[in-house]
């Protein structure tokens, strides 16, 4: 690991203890973390990469891990269910994050402009609560709220006479219902981040805009938006990643049904692995999902990196 400049310094020090204490401090500090991640992430993922090229199926003895090339990938990419679940995930992540962001941004700007003092503090505290709930709990509570025969939501909707949607029992609604629970839980996240981001914009900029006679829209377009670009990107990407990763809410609310109408890709992947025990296919799907995640992550990282060089959001 040592670079040439390190080497010259190392010559000057004597004994292992001073190595640790001085020049190689970073090295010793970072090694445990890197080793842990190597053992717990990289190594398993390499096993999984290898398995994805085999026919390993733990429920059928004859499928014992022979090399099949790209067959698993081909099977998946031509399978209707794979694309259904990818479509569901895209819908869930896309609409979920878009709605959470729009609502969150609007409320954040509203709070920044119109609430003060204690109201803000109270709002802030209460808005943290949904996020602190385990997603699995939030999912179950929403399943209770959405119960069509005895849940409070349809009762209230019935009372005001606007119909009673089949929240969990129709293929058209089921994914939307999970989405609503997700929006409830994570819009506050958007609010808090964007609100904090908005407050960190210097008041001088707004003062200057006011002196120039700019109207609200102009100020929003040319002061607020550009100043918050970095924060917005981070908020959106963090949410997108989490929405992509977890199936907790869907698992308890609909179990993927009816049919596959609310089945998310990560859950289908779980079923391939832990229900069909079709390990070759399951690991292939993991890698395909990872590919999507890596693309998303790269967008995220490049935004962060740009932030570091420029207006330094990190």
């Amino acid at each position: 690991m040592a670079s040439s400049s390190d080497d010259t310094q190392a010559h000057r020090s004597t004994g292992l203890s001073s190595y640790v204490r001085n020049e190689h401090l970073e090295y010793w500090f970072a090694i445990p973390a890197l080793l842990i991640l190597l053992a717990l992430v990289i190594f398993p993922m390499l096993w999984s990469l290898w398995t994805s090229f085999t026919d390993l199926n733990l429920s059928v003895a004859t499928r014992n891990g022979a090399f099949v090339g790209l067959a698993n990938y081909a099977d998946l990419l031509t399978s209707e269910r794979f694309w259904t679940t990818i479509g569901n995930t895209a819908y869930y992540v896309g609409f979920g994050v878009a709605i959470e962001f729009t609502l969150g941004f609007a409320i954040a700007l509203f709070m920044a402009n119109y609430t003060r003092g204690r109201v803000t503090t109270v709002l802030f505290t209460l808005l943290l609560l949904p996020m602190m709930m385990a997603p699995i709990v939030a999912g179950l509570i929403w399943r209770l709220l959405f119960q069509e025969s005895f849940g409070p939501i349809n009762y209230l909707l019935g009372a005001v006479g606007v119909g009673q949607p089949p929240w969990l029992s129709s293929t058209a609604m089921s994914l939307n219902s999970v989405l609503i629970a997700d929006i409830w839980q994570w819009t506050p996240f958007m609010i808090l981040i964007l609100y904090t981001g908005r407050l960190s914009i210097s008041e001088d900029l707004y003062e200057a805009a006011r002196i120039d006679g700019a109207d609200r829209w102009f100020t929003f377009r040319h002061v607020t938006l550009p100043q918050m670009k970095g924060v917005i990107a981070i908020a959106i990407l963090l949410r997108a990643m989490d929405a992509f990763k977890f199936f907790d809410k869907m698992f308890v609310m609909t179990g993927g049904g009816p049919g596959t109408s609310s089945e998310l890709a990560t859950y289908y992947n779980y079923l391939l692995g832990f229900d069909s025990f079709s390990m070759g296919k399951a690991t292939a799907m993991s890698w395909l999902l990872l590919l999507f995640a890596v693309v998303l992550a790269n967008v995220f990282l490049s935004v962060l990196e740009r932030g570091e060089g420029g207006d330094r959001v990190v």
């Binding site: 090295y27 973390a33 991640l37 999984s48 609560l129």
Partner: protein, 294 residues
Amino acid sequence: MSVVEWTRHRLFGATEDPVSLRGAFRTIGVTSLVSVILVTTLFPLYWTVNTSFKPAPETQTFPPTFVPETFTVSPYVDILTGAGSSVLVNSVIVSVGATAIAMLIGVPAGYAYARNPGKVGGKHLAFWILSLRMFPPIAPILPLFFMFRQVGMIDTYPTMMLLYLTFNVPLVVWLMRSFFQDIPQAVEEAAIMDGYSRLEAFFKVSLPLVSPGIVTTTLLVWIFSWNEFQFALVFTRNAAQTYPVIIPSLVGGHATLWNQVAALSVLAMIPIIVISLLMQKRLVRGLTLGAVKG
């Protein structure tokens, strides 16, 4: 003083010019919008608490009761004398242990990447560590299961603590890197001039300075570990089963114990609520991976 004016005074302080019609509308608008936000946010939470004090049959009556008709604490008693207390204890042990290990490993690494990334793989490796947090957990779960099974460590506390490192260590490294970056290197250099070694400077100067950041990171890591479900579903049985795992079985296969689910959820949320009341803004910086300074 009119009602509107009084409300505005209470809510926002007397900063606006007092009696204009516009101000009054504005106050009404703001108040109703705040109310809508609060009601939407709080109703599901209220319903959880409400359900947790109902006897089982009342959780499925129509029309639903918005206040328990028969108020009872038996859901709490039942869940705590049943599976609830042991899973909560397990959750405490696993989440606290997982947090401690993640901090122990992650804080020094965060320091390394803040001070001298070039020596430990550079910025790109730091980004790569962060990107591990983006992995869908399902990807490494399969092989990890076989690994831990081979060494006979399924359903143990250490296994759960280790597994949680996969998403906690990247978080700690990244957050702590950001917090250490806020501390000028000159502070350490001054300490070294005074005869400290770098290790001493780290422990005696940097670490105390960064302690607010450590608190934030610790809490965040703890919350993620406390609420984790997918790893726990696959890796726990009995001895190390955490509370999110038993929640689906209370309203799933054979049972519809909504009141016990609600009671367990309330119990599980209490520690987090207390913390979020105390911490607030600090948590925001953590939740954004340090991107927002707060």
